[in-house]
């Protein structure tokens, strides 16, 4: 993973201002507050309109009532001066458009008309047109029941003037409402900005800076006074999530590395197991013996060992099985191979000595490795029969070391199973084992077959976990003893595979067939 790859995957964090949370919040708040303000203004204006109408009507009627006595007197007496006084008094109000005082004969005693009143628009006429005309009858007499009609006082209000007053008040309401809306919006936006928007922006910035390769190192934002609220919880949840991601990634990487390591180790182990095996040409060059071998590593490579070393006096055949699986078992096997070869090269003939030196070598190395591995190891020394030996005898073998049984199928049909348990001791298990080494010697006649194997063969399990077993191995060998070593080997391996069916190979399979020519 490189950082540029990570950076490319980061989210594009640039947000245009008009799409930002702050702007949209401000716009929506302003719109809602303005609408609510407008609605409130309309309601307020409506109430104002009603009270203004009531006020105008009441004031006008009260004024008319106030001057009614004087007006009645003026009309009764046809007193023009008094009439003018009364009418002028009323006309002093700005909203009076015209004031008329009539006598009871229909004549006009006094009349005042205002010329400069602003014209009333259609809206004003609708709002106030119905309350502009007032008329009071004027009566004169000592008591109301005996009074006589003496005329009428009529006033007309200037709707335009009233309208202008109303419009002024409406304007004030509108402007105040607008200012209120702006102030409230600004306050709301400010409060939200500092309480929510700003931390959110901080969080957003932190999230966009997360390195997908190292999410655990994300710049966790600190929001003072938000530790216990939803924001604090979001941050701590995110942090948990990031740490979990980080752990997951690390686990994945570790598993991948471990798998790679194990895979590489298995490859190495497989190579170790095969790298020092004798070649076909070497085997074919050996006189007196028809030799076939098979070695198949298990899924987890084990530590099976076999070797066939030709030398001046004969052939030394080794077979063994290091405990466990994997690289360490392979290494112990390699060391064993070296030790066996070294002792052969140094012409050590004494099998007790050979076993003892190998054991000490392996024991000390295994102690260094600290793994406590050991191995079964059987060595077979083969020598061709000398001239003048017993008739029919073609070779001799000398067996030592503890391993699985050694099976000999005689030409005459008999089967011999040689138990090697008492011929040695596990190599590398204890420091001193020379006194456990024993030897068994036997002659080989033409057609005698010697079979060496590891427990991978006899302990190969089928689906019901039934082991292949030594008895079945003996049967197969007995039936095919007349065939070539290669053919016997193939038959045994095929039979073991048939027994196992689809089961995984849990242990290495090693088989060595020696047939006396």
């Amino acid at each position: 993973m490189n950082d540029s790859g990570a950076a490319e995957r980061r989210i594009d964090s640039h947000i245009p201002f008009t799409r930002s949370l702050t702007f949209r919040q401000a716009a929506v708040t302003l719109l809602i507050v303005a609408l609510l303000g407008l609605l409130g203004g309309v309601v307020e204006l409506g109430a104002d309109w009603r009270s203004m109408r009531a006020e105008i009507q009441e004031n006008t009627l009260r004024s008319l009532e106030l001057v009614r006595g004087s007006a009645s007197q003026a009309a009764f007496q046809f007193n023009d001066d008094l009439a003018a006084q009364v009418v002028d008094g009323l006309f002093a109000h700005r909203e009076m458009e015209s004031v008329v005082l009539r006598d009871n004969f229909g004549g006009v005693l006094t009349r005042r008309d205002r010329e400069d009143t602003p014209p009333a628009g259609a809206v004003v006429s609708r709002l106030f047109g119905d309350i502009t005309d007032y008329s009071v009858d004027l009566r004169y007499g000592a008591v109301p029941e005996a009074s006589t009609d003496v005329g009428a006082l009529e006033v007309t209000l200037a709707a335009g003037e009233i309208g202008a007053r109303f419009t002024d008040r409406g304007l004030v309401i509108f402007v105040v409402g607008l200012i209120k809306a702006v102030v409230i919006s600004a306050l709301v936006v400010l409060i939200f900005y500092f309480m929510i928007t700003r931390p959110l922006i901080g969080l957003h910035t932190a999230i966009t800076r997360i390195d997908p390769v190292r999410p655990g190192d994300w710049p966790r934002p600190r929001f003072p006074r938000h530790e216990r609220d939803e924001l604090g919880q979001i941050v701590s949840s995110l942090d948990h999530l990031m740490q979990a991601f980080q752990q997951g990634l690390e686990q994945r990487d570790r598993a991948r590395d471990e798998n790679m390591r194990l895979g590489a180790e298995l490859d190495v182990s497989r190579r170790i197991q095969h790298i020092l095996l004798p070649s076909r040409d070497e085997l074919d060059a050996i006189e007196g013996l028809d030799i076939a071998t098979h070695m198949e590593p298990a899924q987890e490579v084990g530590g099976d060992y076999y070797d066939i070393l030709s030398h001046d006096e004969g052939v030394r055949i080794g077979i063994g099985d290091v405990t466990g699986h994997g690289l360490e078992s392979g290494v112990v096997m390699l060391m064993t191979q070296s030790a066996v070869r070294t002792l052969l090269t140094s012409r050590e003939q004494d099998m007790v000595r050979v076993m003892d030196v190998i054991n000490t070598t392996i024991y000390n190395n295994v102690q260094r490795m600290g793994c406590g591995k050991n191995l079964t190891l059987a060595l077979l020394d083969y020598r061709r029969a000398l001239e003048g030996s017993e008739p029919g005898v073609r070779g001799h073998i000398n067996i030592s070391g503890q391993h699985e049984t050694v099976i000999i199928a005689r030409r005459d049909g008999s089967m011999e199973v040689i138990d090697t348990d008492e011929l040695g001791f596990p190599i590398g298990l204890v420091e001193e084992m020379a006194h456990f080494v024993g030897q068994i010697s036997t002659d080989l006649h033409e057609g005698d077959v010697v079979v060496l194997y590891t427990d991978g063969i006899t302990e190969a399990a089928d689906e019901q976990n039934r082991l292949y077993g030594q008895d079945r191995l003996l049967e197969v060998i007995a039936r095919h003893r007349d065939e070539s070593a290669e053919s016997i080997k193939d038959t045994i391996i095929n039979d073991v595979k048939r027994h196992m069916g689809n089961q995984i190979l849990y242990d290495d399979l090693t088989l060595v067939i020696l047939k006396q020519k």
Partner: protein, 114 residues
């Protein structure tokens, strides 16, 4: 009762019966990890004239474990002050050969297969 246990195994010293019981499957990685078990076995020999190692419940013992057991048997043989009885089971495959090898390390050792 002195005991050691881990994933899938238990090793315990029953002082009253002079018995160390090992049970389960022992797959510790390497000789050093068997150190505590080795120490327990060694100290079980102290001041005893006979000791039983009960392996009838030990289904699996890896090579480091067998090496540890072998060392212990050699130590018991060399100290020569405590009779050793090892009880195994015929049903457990690894024990046949390995316990016989222990017997070869210490001929005085008594092997008993249940």
């Amino acid at each position: 009762m002195n005991s050691l246990s881990g994933e899938g195994y238990v090793v315990e010293l029953d002082a009253d019966r002079d018995t160390v019981r090992m049970a389960g499957a022992l797959r510790l990685g390497g000789l050093s990890e068997y150190g505590p078990i080795s120490q327990m076995l060694e100290s079980a020999l102290d001041g005893r004239s006979h000791l039983t190692i009960d392996l009838t419940g030990l289904e699996f013992l890896n090579s480091s474990g067998i090496a540890t057991l072998s060392k212990f048997v050699i130590s018991a043989r060399n100290r020569n002050e405590c009779a050793l009885l090892i009880r195994g089971s015929n049903d457990i495959a690894w024990q046949g050969k390995s316990l016989n090898n222990l017997k070869r390390l210490m001929p005085a050792l008594e092997l008993q297969f249940d």
